[in-house]
Symmetry: D2
Subunit: 336 residues, 4 copies
């Protein structure tokens, strides 16, 4: 389903080439100062424009259409919408017959019986993360002073990001990357036992971002080569501070007060300028396919702010569940 969260719930809607994309945020505490301007910085970070990103450009002006009154959240649901403007009307009929490798064309068809909006990926498009980023900007306000920090560790197997992008553009191919997210300032005790561990809830949310194919916390896959005596983090003060942070700030699924650290892998953009092979469902023969349209050489470049948003949304919900965020932000003075 297109909703996530128990007390702080985000619901997503829209299509790549439809009228709009957006979100509803339910369970937002009353009394948070919010304006559309507050969302612009993160939306700008998500935009394309740099080398290696798609030439499709959108203004991405967010409209908060409910749930805010006199500059503050009211406790009622926030609807945030971003209109699609730069959609190109063209004929997708031919494309329908030849599902693009790596894309959701075939699976969406199987899931929705051919009724799906297939234009530009429809509801499966990365365009939907626009709403997620807007929602994330609000979630970041809720969890403050907890902060999110992301960095691109590598793209195309190279730590020299610019060089890797240049090479991929030249080869007319696409590349993926690895991104690290750090959540600073989280108190200990966040995360629920067993099924709603901090790792479980973050992962659930993060895998909703298109193109993510893996996640690891702390030492992650490297832990498979470590010994217990190396991997265990010694507690060195009464706040729970640890000497090392192989656990990535989480023990038994619950935050331990250290920085939460996790990394994700973004697969290479499925759309490339290279000729590929796929099945033609009309002729029932395998054929060459040239994917037209505007695409990102390396979508990983635009993922950091989306990842922050996803992590902030999941963190906010867990912090509300553990009582770290209140239903009314702060008492209002001049009432009644």
């Amino acid at each position: 389903m297109n909703s996530f969260g128990r007390l702080f719930r985000v619901s997503i809607f829209g299509e790549s080439h439809g009228q709009l994309v957006g979100v509803i945020l339910d369970g937002v505490p009353a009394g948070i100062s919010i304006s559309e301007d507050d969302l612009m910085a993160d939306l700008a970070r998500r935009k394309s424009g740099a080398a290696g990103t798609t030439p499709r450009k959108e203004d991405d002006i967010p409209h908060i259409r409910s749930g805010v009154f006199n500059g503050f959240t009211t406790g009622a649901p926030l609807v945030i919408q971003v209109e699609n403007k730069n959609t190109r009307s063209r004929d997708y009929t031919e494309l329908r017959k030849t599902p693009r490798p790596g894309h959701a064309d075939f699976t969406a068809f199987k899931k929705f019986g051919g009724y799906e909006d297939y234009r530009g990926g429809g509801h499966f498009s990365g365009r939907l993360t626009t709403g997620l980023v807007a929602a994330g900007a609000i979630a970041k306000k809720l969890i403050s002073p907890v902060t999110m920090e992301t960095s691109i560790l590598e793209v195309g197997g190279s730590e020299d990001i610019q060089a890797a992008i240049d090479k991929a553009v030249e080869e007319k191919d696409s590349i993926g990357g690895i991104i690290e997210c750090r959540i600073n300032g989280l108190p200990s005790g966040v995360g629920e036992p067993f099924f709603d561990s901090f790792e479980a809830v973050i992962s659930h949310m993060v895998f909703s971002i298109p193109a993510i194919k893996g996640i690891e916390f702390g030492s992650g896959f490297a832990a498979a080569k470590m010994k217990g005596s190396e991997h265990n983090d010694s507690i060195i003060d009464t706040s729970g501070k640890t000497e090392t942070n192989h656990a990535g700030g989480i023990n038994g699924g619950i935050t331990n007060g250290n920085v939460v650290v996790f990394r994700i892998v973004v697969k290479p953009t499925s759309s490339t300028h290279k000729t590929q092979r796929t099945m033609n469902f009309e002729t029932r023969k395998i054929q060459d396919l040239q994917v037209e349209g505007r695409h990102d050489t390396c979508i990983a470049l635009r993922v950091p702010v989306v990842l922050e948003a996803a992590a902030a949304l999941a963190t906010a919900d867990l912090m509300m569940q553990s009582g770290e965020i209140k239903r009314i932000n702060q008492p209002k003075d001049n009432i009644v």
Copy 2:
């Protein structure tokens, strides 16, 4: 919360040194042939006994206490319990002051204010996966003919499992490992758009297993070094079969009819015989800690069947949501 699933829901309970561990399964279709014997094979696979596993031995006899009548599920909730027998009563008072590195001692204390059952890890213990495995044996019946297949790829950084275990035992240390899970026979179209993608739901469930610190689907983290033209899987027949399977059987969060493949990393067992350092919360000084008790040198050896159970439970719920599993298994002949 200690529940997971939308239509097929598992709830877990119990403590390592309490009376019992177990699960409730709600939403089980009526008419599935089930007996306690059906659960024994998987429970036996989870047991210790082999070199590298804990000397604590439990009979692990499952009792189905409701929801089955005349050998078939009734549609009402199944309660499955396993009594704890081999619990050692000893003094944990000293231990309380010195949280064990890598364990949930400190975080459980922060979460539950000192009321938590701290004996042997309490509700955080790997002992709770007994219930999960029993539930998984039933989930496997539901999803049949879909099957789960797991293999240990490496432990302690070595593909020679026996050698790695022997070395760790000799060093009185613990080691982790990497396990692969393959889900065979899944139809295309399973998984929900956006937040409940197949990857998201599997990951949510899998991170509930203690000691898991990472998960990757298909090529996973290796995709960061691939080009799009390499990573994309060409569709080669009208069933959706692909030439390669870098996507791990999932596009856009929805199964594509190929084998679903994912890998997890199990961290080294937190309990080791090595002397470690931790904070003493009474003296407020860092001190040496010798973790007593019975432990697994390599808990990864016992994880495969738990991983299958977790994956089967999540898969069953998603298959029910997409209509692949019916509420009544098959019509009963001789009724009324």
Copy 3:
């Protein structure tokens, strides 16, 4: 929270004097033929205009902003919005000090700390049922050939509706009423055991409609004066048809194949032209209060179509859970 439903989920948003009101519908099967015109008939039934209803008039043009493509639902969420146009900007400052009896002014203030949008009832306004009615029109399509039928049994204690309204208008007071809803054509077996009985889920949804203060199924409160031998409905054919229908079509929380019948009571509209007494929270003294604005003498007149919508939404979700409604409405012919 502002969402309802397990597989077919409606989320509501908006405020009486804000920009808009509306809903998201998630879990709508793909392949349902829908246009905005399909929603107009029910929205027209909800409108004011008749004697006894508010002079506030709105065009109530619904806009489906996502989830429909080429005239059919796609399986992605539907966003339906109705813009507010006839909102009067006036000063509510004075009103804030003196909560109106019968309204949510005081409780909203207590819940949201003064940040709530108090204009015209804000998020608590009956105006939000506009979105519910639009959603209900779609739910009715899903459950077809099951149909909803409502009738006003009495208003102001009188079965002569027109006379009762005339009298109340003359007295400058407001009145309530009793409305019956019949759900025709429901198969047996709908409703879930224990907590999600058909009665429980319908009631949950129906009490979301503002001004509803009671609900009864079948003989309802009259059953308290009946004997078991009278109240029990004899089964008279193998389809489960019963001679009488004191149970209102439900046994053990599950539909029995007969008509489902229930009645609700709508309290008198809280806003009346009569002078009332309330607390002034500034002066801290009780004072007279004259409620200004446009109101319905008898809101019960406009409730039937809202009640049908609420019942259709709840019924659709339960029918999806019991497998009576499929995820894809019907196979599409002309696709790949």
Copy 4:
């Protein structure tokens, strides 16, 4: 599904003539003092024994099997079980062919395809409310100092309860009744906007109790005959106290600080000693039916404590959502 609650969740299991009945309670705050003795008083109130109740007698000894340690809740799920002892093994084969009027025999068969445990009502039996009452005793602790108070207003249409029972026993028939519940001491601000109003959530839970066919809050159905100026409750102090309480303590779905008052109707027990008519599904002819077994002449007599339990469980969940109940009850002194 057999679960209810967002943060404080009760799951129910068991069958009338199976091994046991019981509940899981998840989300119980840590640090609540609980023993099995605390549950006995309410369980005793639910028992039969008085005139007008069934001769089936059960010890109803509750066993708390997890989630309590050293006399306090730990924050982990509580499993509470009551073994069934006084089950009579007899032949139900004949009964299967002739569904009892008023019972769930026919609907359970339709829902579960003949696999349901039909002995004594199986999972649909009032016997399951034993677990609910045990859970309710814990919920009452959580919501303290809020208290529940119930009274039987009438049975069999008579306020003289004893006389009505005697008459029904003499006539070998069964009767129903009306019960009022009052929730004292609730703060204002409890209940969620729109779909999770206080009335909606209470009703959802209350209709889970077998035999309930109606609910009304405050003036309830009588409001249909009142004028707005009569029905509205004037606020007479700054705590929100109202002069009258026609609203039953709830405005806009949110508690207003006055006593919450609601009434339910309990239908006459479906089992009576009178001969009834039903369909024989084997002969496909209508025939006489004599319902054997032990039954309550007036099950309403045993409902008050069940109603308190249901209301306490729903209230506790809503109070946790609005932040009135904390995740850790009180700090523990002597820890670490």
